[in-house]
Each structure stands twice: as structure tokens, then as C-alpha cells.
Amino acid sequence: MEGVRVAGVGLTHFGQTPDRTGRELFAEAAEAALADAGVDREAVAELHYGNFMGALGERQGHQAPLMAEAAGLSCPATRYELACASAGAAVRGAVRAIAAGQADVVVAGGMERMTNRAIEETTEALAIAADELFEVRAGVTFPGAYALMARSYFEEFGGEREDLAHVAVKNHENAVPNEYAQYRKAITVEQALSAPIIAEPLGLYDSCPVTDGASALVVVSEAYAEANELDASVAIVGSGQGGDALALQSRGDPARTPATDAAAMEAFADAGVGRGDVAAVEVHDCFTIAEVCALEGLGFYDYGEAVGAARRGETTADGDLPVNLSGGLKAKGHPVGATGGSQVVEMTRLLRGDHPNADAVDGTVGLTHNAGGTVASAVVHLLEVVE
């Protein structure tokens, strides 16, 4: 794919701000992205907006036009709902609109407000990304679903809780310098292993936090960037999306995520680059086991090999393939409907050089991977510095 540029990016701080409305959060991210892009808001032709649980969390449906209004955008707006992959899908929608020549300037991103409700209510809201009849009624929570996957993985390929603890330690370490991250504190393997168990074999430190936050990008056509002399050095060169059965029970192997494989295959073919060209990766580590499954589905590791990658130092900031230099969902935070956008924001900053961990990136190509539910949905983007 050619001709799609990231002109500007914006984030709110990720954390617990229960009194901030969704519209305030998204407006802040969009305002930051427009300022970063140097684009007039009148030029924005479309808003592609991701959100998952706003109908429960804020009792607010029909959010897209509300968010356009909040951001001062007078344009058609559409909400994407794909559970935790909502904003990844929104970015993909924006990218496809630009690539198809249907628009020159599009804002994409997402928002989630999660800490304004009791934790049990938020747990319930997250659980509905699973199959209501066959999973939720059988007590499957969001951590419980990934625990089912982790147990399957250990049974089929081996690995242990300590391997997963190294994923958490790595991502916390990466979050320390990130000004947007929820948890800017390093942890130890011992702390991770001794944390309370949520759903065996996963503990508290295997799990991402509950987070309020928003993300936004201004995506433009190359022609628009040139005509308006925008500083838009990063291109989105590949986009892919994969799908799978919603319930784990309907899939062949709970330890594998074929939707990620499919999304990656499409994105790499679209971009015309190979896995060896990728210098940094942001993957969907809602739980530590999810980072493992993602790296295998993306093709960076054979099945059964990624569980020890962090422990071996291969995916740390100074490893061969730095993974989640932002801190990932695990430490940067996971405002569900905003995450897919924030991954592209962070990768853009890493490639442009204005991210505090940018020095760890040795190359010009980065990959983002955003997953919904237990990866019934996956969206992959490839970004490249082109100027």
C-alpha cells in the first residue's frame, strides 16, 4: 500500500481518571493529534472512532458524532466496535479510506472510560466480549479466557509462570520513561510471581490494568502532505485484519490465534516487507500469555518458542526484536477502545524518534498488533519511515 501518511498523533495520559468524561478524554487526544499534524480541523473529512463498553460504562450509545462534536470536527463519524481491537479497526478504516482515494484527511482513534464503575461491573462489561450463551454464563471472565489459553499453551508447548513473569517485568521496565504510561515503575520476577492469582495460572501481574484514556491520529494522503508541506515522515505501508470463531470452544486449538496469522499475512503482503525488516513491535499483551501467542501468530517465532523470548532477552529493549517499548497494555495501560490507536501513536513516535525509548529502534519498519476478545479479531499495521 502506498500514499498513506501519519501527520500527527495524540494521547491522553493513561491512568485512572474516573471523573473525566469520555468526550473530554477523546477531545484532548484529538486536539493533540491535530496540533501535532499542523492540520486545520476544517480539512478533516471523516472520523473513525473506536470504543467498546461505552454503552455500559457511560450509558452512551451513538458515540461517534458526540466525539466529533467534542473534538470540534464537522464531519461524518463512525464508531467501530471490535472489543479490544476497536481502535485498530478504526485506524484500518481510516487507512483504507485514504488509500482508496476517498478522503485526504481523516482522524482515527478511540476512547475508553473504565474506572468510573465498580471493578465487578467493569469485569462484567469486559466479559461480554466473549460468547454470552456458551462462555459468559459458564463463568468465563476476560482473565479466565486467557487463563484457559495459557493452560492449553503450557500443556501443548511447555513453559511456566516464570516465563510469563519475564514478559511483565520487561513491559514494566519499558514503561518507566513513558510519560503517558499508567505504571511507570519497574517490577521484579519475584513480585510478579507472588502477586495474587486472578484466574489460574494467571496472576495480577500477568494482567493489564483497568485504564481511562484516549488516542488519536491524523492520517493523510501523501499528496495532501506534500501540497501542504506537512511533516509526515511515517507512512502506514501495510494493513491486515483476521477473524475467528468468537468462543474458544469453537476453535481448533486454544493455544493458537489464527486471526493474528491471517492479519499479519495480509499486512506483510500489502507492505511488501518481510519480518526481518521489522525493527520494533507493539503487540496486544492484555495478558502476558497474549504477547507470547501474538509473537507466534505474527510469525516472529515458531509455535512454542515465544514463551521464553523475554526471559532470554530477545524481546527486551536491547534485544534483537524489542517488543512493547511503550510498556504495552500491561504497563502503559489498556483503555480498551483506545488501545489499537495508541499502539500506532507509540510506533509513530518510536520511528520518528520522539519517543523516550526511540533509541532502542534500529531500523525503519515497525509493526502494531491489536486483538479483540480472545483474538476472534486481530488487526495488524506496518509503519515505515519514508523520509
Binding site: 465487578e120 461491573e121 469485569t123 462484567e124 466479559a127 450463551l133 456458551f134 462462555e135 459468559v136 454464563r137 459458564a138 463463568g139 468465563v140 471472565t141 482473565p143 479466565g144 487463563a147 484457559l148 489459553m149 493452560r151 492449553s152 500443556e155 495474587p196 492469582i197 486472578i198 484466574a199 489460574e200 495460572p201 494467571l202 470463531a245 468462543a247 474458544l248 470452544q249 469453537s250 486454544p254
Partner: protein, 137 residues
Amino acid sequence: MTDAGDSEIRDRGYDDWLDALETGDGYLLRCPNNHASLPPRLVCPDCGSDDLTEEALPASGEIVTYTVVHLGTREFNDQTPYVTAIAAVGDVRITGLVREVDAESVDVGASVEPTVDKNPQTSDRVVVFRPSNMIPE
């Protein structure tokens, strides 16, 4: 629903399947291409065939994976810790609660029988696995 009240709307297909499982007459759906699935279905999820026939579900299956949930939703918070598992039963996999056995005794490969019980907090019916032989084969 079962006896939650006359005003309760059933989930057609799903509740019919639970009715059958509850009386020991559980079934799966089979298409001419030999794919197996669970209702409610209009077409086979694998090939799209609309020629689905009911076939008896084996009385027992094996646990494929399980978890012990310590942090539940409001519909389960009085029951933690509880065990949720996926079991392979014939050619389908089913998700359910494991009851009548200590969490420590549950293991992958254990033999279980799918049946139907209630969530005491909601009165929703739910698939429950009871041990037929909890020692892995």
C-alpha cells in the same frame, strides 16, 4: 430459561439444547461434510451447509483446558473460587463449570459428563461438568 418465570423469553435453539442435555439426551449438529457444531445454528460454521441434523452427544468427554477463577463478575462473585473448563465431547467442545470435585483434583485429560445446573446467583441455567473419572487417562 427454565422456571425463572412465565415472562422469561427463551433463547430458541440454545434453551432447546439445554433441555435435551438436562434429560440426558444431549446432541450436536452434523452437516453432510461431517463438520460438528452446537446450536443455535442455521448453517454449518465451517462450510455453510444448511442441512444440519441432530446427532447424539456422547455421555462423557475430556477436559481440554481449565482455570480456577478467583475474581468473578457480579453474577459469580459469591462462588469464587470456581472452576471453568472446556471439554472435548465427541467432535465438539463445550465450556462449563466443573462441580462436585476439588479444584486441586481437576486436570487436563480428566473424564467428565456434561449436564445442566443453575447459577445460584442468577437462576440462569449453565452447562456443568461432573466427574465421571477425574483421574487423567
